[in-house]
């Protein structure tokens, strides 16, 4: 089977947005190109699969009669400023950015695929193969894994990494990325797209000299590997990481240079001290499993993760002591300090 099957053609439209926003969405769709899981096209009518709506329009459409609703596109609310995201519904927050739109479209693809799977499953005879089972075009972490493998080779030679329209230069042994100008969000969205082909080739001396003469500056590649893990699918571990394994950190990530969320700090503290399974880490850090997957994947691509097979005798639950009479060592001290200095958890 061809690993990269044909993409679904899906339509997107806008309802109730102003002309400027509509133009911005169509521009961003062009920027994203084929960096999404399915092929998205802008439509001017309500035959589209999804519609970006104002929050009010989304509510109004949801109230339509069921027979009317079945013919309307799925509404994705556009949220502004302090508007809250409705629970369990994908949403796009203004101002619009290519990266966020790409993630949203992939999320919607997953939802629509699930809907298609359910529809096929209800019409197929038992045991009959589902048509959607053959749809496996989505290759997650393609770019991150290619980059990680290149770094593993530890070559001292300069390599050209071509991913879609984005070109990077890498010295694997130095874990260095050479850029003539910073990577913007759009380029990053293309590079991290799950469908974009990655081509790598070793550069010869003359090409290397030309690149150095052009003023390309080396920087650590870890931030890019980190982003490839963090911005990848959040419903699975990287290929090669065991679903039922326990994970520990070899050392702390350099949060001074890596994009981070506050919740990453506690997860890092737990994993540097003790190996945890995904579920145990989610429980101990009170974070959603999706965030745990993203964090472990980012650490793994940066070669910070050690995998240990889960041992039943060592199965631990770091939250089980909550009902004991143990008095917390620091009480609410850290919360007081955070509050006084206005940082961290609220």
């Amino acid at each position: 089977m061809n690993a990269v099957a044909a993409k679904h053609a899906l339509g997107i439209t806008t309802v109730g947005l102003d002309l400027r926003d509509e133009l911005l969405i169509t521009s961003l769709l062009r920027v994203i190109g084929d960096g999404t899981r399915d092929r998205w096209e802008y439509r001017d009518d309500l035959q589209a699969d999804v519609a970006l709506c104002t929050a009010q329009t989304a509510s109004a459409l949801a109230l339509r009669k069921p027979d009317e609703r079945s013919r309307t596109p799925r509404c994705i609310p556009v949220l502004r400023e302090d508007e809250q995201q409705p629970a369990g519904t994908p949403a796009l927050r203004a101002p619009f950015r290519a990266m966020e739109l790409r993630k949203l479209l992939d999320e919607v693809s997953s939802l629509l695929m699930t809907r298609r799977s359910l529809a096929v499953a209800t019409t197929n005879a038992p045991g009959e193969a589902s048509a959607v089972n053959s749809l496996q075009p989505f290759k997650p972490f393609r770019f991150g894994l290619a980059l990680s493998k290149l770094i593993e080779r530890a070559s001292r030679d300069l390599h050209r990494v071509e991913v879609g329209s984005v070109i990077l230069h890498v010295i694997p042994a130095a874990r260095a990325l050479l850029l003539t100008e910073p990577l913007d969000d759009e380029s990053l969205a293309i590079a991290l797209g799950p469908r974009t082909d990655v081509r790598i080739r070793q550069m010869d001396d003359s090409e290397t000299q030309r690149l150095i003469a052009s003023g390309a500056k080396p920087q650590t590649i870890d931030w890019l590997l980190w982003r490839a893990g963090l911005d990848g699918p959040t419903d699975q571990l990287l290929p090669g990481l065991p679903d039922h394994g326990e994970f520990a950190l070899r050392r702390w990530p350099d949060f001074g240079r890596l994009k981070h969320k506050q919740s990453h700090f506690l997860m890092a503290g737990l994993l540097t001290r003790m190996a945890h399974s995904v579920d145990a880490l989610a429980l101990a850090s009170s974070q959603p499993v999706a965030d745990v997957y993203a964090f472990i994947n980012a650490c793994a691509l940066c070669d910070l993760i050690e995998v240990r097979q889960e041992e039943k005798s060592a199965l631990r639950d770091t939250t089980s002591g909550q009902n004991t009479s143990h008095t917390p060592r620091y009480g609410g001290l850290f919360q007081s300090i955070r509050s006084a200095l206005r940082f961290g958890r609220s």
Binding site: R251, R273, M274, G321, I337, A340, G344
Partner: protein, 190 residues
């Protein structure tokens, strides 16, 4: 009930930014004891901290977080342990432009070994952009050799958010240790 006091230590070599870091978060103008630097062979600063820096933060309820910066010169190293007694944690700042930043860190980790082993230390490496060597890998190798797994971050303590990042990570590390080590958790550190 009388207000409680907590002590946070900023340690590091001369010029590593201890005074700057304290000034970034203290609610009072830091009390500084700078004198003329007589150690120009090791650092070109005109003045340096001869005894210590001091700053403070008032916490909700009137408790105080007292911030102490250790003197940078090694001839004052007898002060480091005195200051470390009863400290909540220690923030070690390393200036990567110094002749031997690894030796600097080793000295501070030895002085604050007990605190660092108790997961109450965080290390900030400054001037790494202009002086990339030694790398963070080398600093991690050193801490491993000493038997410590402390967070090590690239920072610029002239930025307040970098100082707060160091504090946040220090506290999260301590909270993680408490979660794992508390009685009844059944957990055992690796």
């Amino acid at each position: 009930m009388s207000p409680k006091e907590y002590k946070l230590i900023f340690a590091g070599s001369m010029g590593a930014g201890k005074t700057t870091a304290i000034a970034a978060i203290s609610e009072i103008a830091p009390v500084r004891t700078d004198v003329e630097n007589t150690d120009r062979a090791n650092h070109q600063k005109a003045t340096t901290t001869a005894a210590m820096d001091y700053g403070e933060v008032t916490l909700p309820g009137g408790d105080k977080l007292r911030l102490y910066g250790t003197p940078g010169q090694t001839r004052f190293d007898f002060m480091w342990k005195i200051l470390g007694n009863g400290a909540l944690g220690v923030i070690i700042l390393v200036d990567n432009s110094r002749p031997d930043p690894l030796a600097d860190l080793r000295g501070y980790l030895q002085a604050f070994h007990e605190i660092a082993q108790d997961s109450r230390a965080v290390i900030g490496i400054g001037r790494g952009e202009s002086h990339p060597s030694p790398t963070l890998d080398a600093f991690h190798a050193l801490t491993r050799e000493i038997g410590i797994c402390a967070p090590i971050l690239s920072v610029d303590v002239r930025r307040r958010e970098d100082v707060l990042l160091l504090l946040d990570i220090l506290f999260n590390q301590m909270e993680a240790a408490e979660l794992i080590d508390r009685p009844g958790s059944g957990a055992r550190p690796q």
